[in-house]
Amino acid sequence: MMRSVLTKTLYDKRLFILGWTLGLMAIAMLMTSFFPAMRPEGGIDALLANLPAAFQGLIGDLAALDEFDTYIASQLFDIRVPLIGGIMAIILALGLSTREEEDGELRTLLSLPISRTKLFIEKWLAMVLIMGISVVGLIAGVYLIMPFIDDAAIAGEAMLQLALMTWLVMISYSSVTYAAGMASGRRAVASAVGITVIIGSFLLSTFAVAVEWLSDYEFLSLLQYFPAVDIVYDGVMLRDVVVLSLVTLIALVAAWLVFRRRDIA
C-alpha cells in the first residue's frame, strides 16, 4: 500500500532494486568462485608480480589473496564494489532527484500536502533502503557460493562490518549526487558532481599506489575511508565512519537548505 513518498518511491524503483540486487549478487558469486584460481598456489601471484606498479593498484594487495576473507575484501569490496556501487549510486540518485523534476512529476507531488522537507527526507530514506537491499544481495551472493569453495571462510563479524561499511560508502556516494540534484534541479550538475566524487575517488585511490604525488591527495577520496582489507584485520575505524557520515550529512543539510526554498521548474 502506497501511503507515503517513501513507499511510493520503493514501489517505483522495484525493478531497479531487483536488477541491481541480482546483479551485485551475481558479481559476488563470480568473485567468490574465482578464489581458488586467484590464490598464490594457483600461479596468479607470478603473473601479477610482473605487472607494472600502476596496474597493481587495480589488482589490489597480492598478500591479501592468501586467505578467503582478505581475498574477498580486496577483490570484491576494495576494487569492484566501489566502482559498480558508485555507478548504481549515480543512476539511482539522479533518478530520484533530477528526473522527477525534469518530467514535471515533482510539481505534481509538491501540489499535494507534502512538505519539501518530508519529500526530501523520504526520497533519501528510500535511496538508503535500496542501497541496503543491494548490499544484502551482495553479501548473499558470497554466502551462496562459499559452501562450494575449498577453504572459503570468513568471520561473520568481519562480513557484517564489510557490509555495513559498503552500505555507508554507497550512502555517501548517492547522497552527494542526490544533494547536488535536489539543490540544483539540474541533471548535468548532479551528474558532474557524482562522477567527480565517485569516479574521482576510485581513480585517486587506485592510482595513488603508483603515482607518488597523488598520494598527498588520497585523503580526498571517499574510498580512503573504506579500507576493506584492514577492516578484516582490525575492524572498522571510527574515523572512517565519522568522515563518511559527515560528508553525507553536510551534503544533505546544504541541499535541504537550498531545496526547501528554490523554484521548481
Binding site: M1, M2, R3, S4, K8, Y11, D12, D103, G104, E105, R107, T108, L110, S111, L112, P113, I114, S115, R116, T117, K118, R260, R261, R262, D263, I264
Partner: protein, 300 residues
C-alpha cells in the same frame, strides 16, 4: 472572506519579468477565469500561488497565509490542483495514484471518489503511463477535486478532454461553485470561462490588464440580433452595426445586426417591428470581447 490575495507581485527570470506588479483578490465562492495569450504570465502566477516558485517582489497569500515554497504544503491541505500538462506518476495505476492521494489528504474520500469516478468514467486499472492524454486528464481532475477542497486551482484543465467530458467538467464546476468552493481557472477556451466564471481576470505581457465580472464583460461586448418579419422594409435601429439583410425560404425578411447600445432602446425597436415572426438575440462570446481588449492594449 479573501481566499487569494496577490499584492504587487513581480517575478523575474533573469532580465525577463514574467509577471509585473500584479495585484488581485479572490473571495470565497468566486469562480475566476484567468485568461490571456500564451506567455502572458498566467502559469507563472499559478506557480506562485502553489508555492512552486517564489515571487521576486510582492506577496502571495492564500487562506490568509503568505505562500512560500517551504510552507506551501500547509495551504495544499485545503486546495486541489490540476493542469492540462500535469505529469502524473506513470508507474502507478490510476487506482494506486488515487489511493496514494487519499493517504496524503487523510479523511474518508470513498464517497467522493465514487461520485467523481461515476462522473468522469476514468480507466482505473491501467498504468497511468499507458493512458491517453484525455484519460490522464480525467485522473488529474478527479485528483484535484478528491479531497473536497475549499480552493481549486486549474491551469488549462480541459485541454485533452473530449466535448462530452468538457461538459461534465463544467457541470462539476457549477456544482462546486454552488457548494461554495472557490475556483481559480486559467483557460484558453473562452466559451467555458463565459459559461462558469463569475469574474474574469485578463493578463497581458505579465500585467493584469482587466479584472471584470463576467456578466459585465458580456454586456459590454454587446449582442447579435436576428429578426425575421413579414415586412420587407424593416430597417435596423439607429446605432446598429454590421447590418445584413436576407430572405428566408418561406418569404420572411431577415435583418441582422450587432447591438452595443442600451437594451431599452433595442427593446423599443423590437416592439415596433411590423409583422414580427421571430427574434434571436445572442450575447457576443468572450472571444470577441477579449480580442477587442487585446487590440486596445496593443494600440495603447
Amino acid at each position: 472572506m479573501t481566499v487569494i490575495r496577490i499584492q504587487e507581485v513581480t517575478k523575474q527570470f533573469g532580465d525577463v519579468a514574467a509577471v509585473s506588479d500584479a495585484s488581485f483578490e479572490v473571495m470565497k465562492g468566486e469562480v475566476i477565469g484567468f485568461v490571456g495569450a500564451n506567455g502572458a504570465g498566467k502559469s507563472t502566477t499559478i506557480n506562485m500561488l502553489l508555492g512552486f516558485i517564489a515571487p521576486s517582489h510582492g506577496t502571495v497569500r492564500v487562506f490568509g497565509e503568505t505562500v512560500t515554497p517551504h510552507v506551501a504544503h500547509r495551504q495544499h491541505a485545503r486546495m486541489g490542483f490540476a493542469a492540462g500538462d500535469m505529469e502524473l506518476p506513470g508507474n502507478l495505476t490510476s487506482k494506486q495514484y488515487l489511493q496514494f492521494l487519499t493517504h496524503q489528504y487523510g479523511g474518508d474520500t470513498a464517497k467522493r471518489l465514487a461520485e467523481l469516478t461515476e462522473r468522469f468514467q476514468p480507466v482505473l486499472h491501467k498504468k497511468i503511463a499507458t493512458l491517453s492524454r484525455g484519460n490522464k486528464q480525467k485522473i488529474a481532475l478527479i485528483a484535484a477535486f478528491l479531497p473536497s477542497p475549499e480552493l481549486v486551482i486549474l491551469d488549462e484543465p480541459t485541454s485533452g478532454l473530449d466535448p462530452i467530458m468538457q461538459e461534465k467538467f463544467l457541470e462539476l464546476i457549477r456544482g462546486e461553485a454552488a457548494a461554495g468552493t472557490t475556483i481559480f481557472m486559467s483557460s484558453h477556451y473562452l466559451g467555458e470561462v463565459a459559461d462558469v466564471c463569475s469574474r474574469v481576470i485578463l493578463m497581458r505581457d505579465g500585467r493584469i490588464v482587466s479584472d471584470t465580472p463576467a456578466a459585465e464583460l458580456l454586456r459590454a461586448s454587446g449582442k447579435h440580433v436576428r429578426v425575421i418579419s413579414g415586412y420587407g422594409r424593416t430597417a435596423a435601429p439607429k446605432g446598429a452595426e454590421a447590418i445584413a439583410k436576407s430572405k428566408t425560404e418561406d418569404g420572411g425578411y431577415v435583418v441582422e445586426f450587432d447591438w452595443r447600445g442600451e437594451p431599452a432602446q433595442l427593446q423599443q425597436w423590437l416592439a415596433a417591428v411590423k409583422q414580427l415572426r421571430d427574434i434571436e438575440v445572442t450575447e457576443f462570446n468572450l472571444e470577441a470581447a477579449f480580442r477587442g481588449m487585446y487590440d486596445e492594449e496593443s494600440a495603447a
